[in-house]
Subunit: 334 residues, 2 copies
């Protein structure tokens, strides 16, 4: 894979977005989100998604100028109508407001609807926790996951991110509640490899290891019944408070033409944080199991990956790198 | 197992606590928590724990009179020093305050330290969600769970409960982040049955299916690396904000003599809740997988169990039923 310098990618993506009609600061935010995913080794949430952002603007289902309309329903409850804005642009504007408000009230929440794909939740958690506040972040998405004991996709991959400040780098975890991403299933399908058992159902709702069949089926929730319960709870929490669509009614995070009707929820807490560093060090230094190199702290592998990729460049699959250059040419010509 | 009428158990437990020096309203709260666990089919958090509550009062590590001291650090951030009070007594007093405050501010948080075992988190979630508010509840506990890829117990079973109001009965989920409870491992050991693979490590940190060996070892987190990440995040979140102990430094939820230094965290949100009922109905009616009777909504099996046990009585293991009667006699004689 070609290794592309992060600054080159940043300039390229920002220019593409500006040519698509996105104001410069918003183009920088959308780019930063996608690039951070590449840097942290989460390509499913990276520059692969840029073409869809541009197409959605072109199709009138993403408004490049909107930052969202804010309604303080209560002193610490911010309702946000994203006005079809870009996901990170709307999210960051809302987060800034509740981070400030939480300094006065101790905690504040933003519930966002009518906004586009928010991307990697850990991005927001890292930002808030780096600045010394605690955060919980939730988002809903298209139905891709089957309920435990069911046959059809009826839940989103309903991710959660949690960030807690420490003396050093903050603790940041970010995970979907599906056993694996649909992107990974697509990767298996393109390589012609069988899926591990238990990952997916086919379109008829039967267990399958055929990745091509799984693309038309459903992903398993991670962790069996408990993971299903958590994913469902995160989805209900965000959808209920954001007034967003649920389950199979959710659209617009995976296509280029539907208005995006999922919900996002951020809770920021400005509390006195006790020190976690000694405990985290103890975990880092814990004796690993047979065949395991070391006990990991969530988020730290991504942070190490980021440092390396800032140094040596971002590995991009050749088709994606070509497509980005084509996209830039198209936008310049447009 | 003898089936004991719920009112009989309520009277018995309340009397035992009153004789142990607990004021009547607090005795009723502690009893209600334990009895609800029995009714909902969670005996590990039920009346089995009553003797320990009484012993802790006797040993001076639980203060039967305390309801906790409240400090509003910010308008919507309540810090609670439990003053060694009974877990549910301190928790309910704090919850009442933040539920009222959230009506003004939209969201409020209580961070509790120096309080005793809080019991089944779903109890609190059910209460708040029944009253029309949304809730997230966390608590930390003694280190019983090994980090993913580690050998020793270094995390609590770090449970979470989430409650969201609906038009009908609220959605309430409540789960520990261990693959199974240590209580269940004890049950396997007492029956001499082998554990399923992947549940536990022995004292040397090696995988074991020997339940007796697992009692001295560690439980696996549920759901592999993702479940570990979530359990760790829930634990850090609660400990950091509550100023509570972490990992192997946590004591007092499983013994009768240590001051309890874990933390509890409640977040109550008073938002406009969108309707979830149609979606939940769709899940209830979803076609089940081969060999599965129906798709379940978390919390509903417990609610059905509760209705039945209120009608026919609570099945109590004979040794527990005898012990409760012995405990009552001891306390009356004391």
């Amino acid at each position: 894979m070609p290794l592309i310098d992060a600054q080159t990618l940043r300039r390229l993506s920002t220019q593409i977005l500006i040519h698509a009609g996105v104001p410069e600061p918003s183009a920088a935010s959308q780019t930063d989100l996608l690039l951070e995913a590449e840097l942290r080794g989460v390509p499913s949430h990276g520059l692969l998604r840029l073409r869809r952002v541009v197409e959605r603007i072109g199709n009138g289902v993403a408004n490049p100028a909107s930052v969202g309309r804010h309604y303080w329903r209560r002193e610490a409850f911010l309702e946000v109508d994203g006005e079809m804005g870009l996901g990170p642009v709307v999210a960051l504007a809302a987060l800034d407001q509740i981070a400030i408000r939480a300094r006065q009230t101790g905690i504040a929440v933003a519930a966002i609807h009518n906004s586009n794909h928010i991307g990697m939740l850990g991005y927001y958690a890292e930002r808030i926790a780096q600045a010394g506040q605690t955060i919980l972040a939730f988002s809903t998405s298209e139905a891709l996951v089957h309920p435990w004991g069911g046959r059809k996709a009826m839940l989103g991959t309903n991710p959660i991110a949690i960030g807690v400040p420490t003396q050093g780098e903050p603790f940041v975890m970010d995970t979907a509640t599906s056993i694996v991403s649909m992107g990974e299933v697509h990767d298996y399908a393109s390589r012609g490899e069988p899926l591990p058992e238990g990952w997916a159902l086919d379109a008829q709702g039967n267990p399958t290891t055929d990745a091509a069949a799984a693309k038309a089926g459903a992903l398993a929730p991670f962790g069996g019944a408990k993971g299903y319960a958590l994913g469902l709870a995160f989805g209900l929490l965000a959808s209920s408070l954001a007034g967003a669509a649920l389950g199979r009614d959710v659209h617009g995070t995976l296509d280029s033409h539907s208005i995006c009707n999922k919900g996002d929820l951020f809770i920021v807490i400005d509390g006195p944080n006790a020190l976690l560093d000694d405990y985290l060090d103890m975990l880092r230094q814990a004796e690993p199991a047979e065949g395991v190199e070391k006990v990991l702290i969530p988020g730290e592998r991504g942070r190490a990956c980021r440092a390396e990729r800032l140094r040596i460049g971002v590995p991009l699959a050749e088709p994606l790198w070509s497509d980005l250059q084509r996209l830039a040419a198209e936008q310049e010509g447009a």
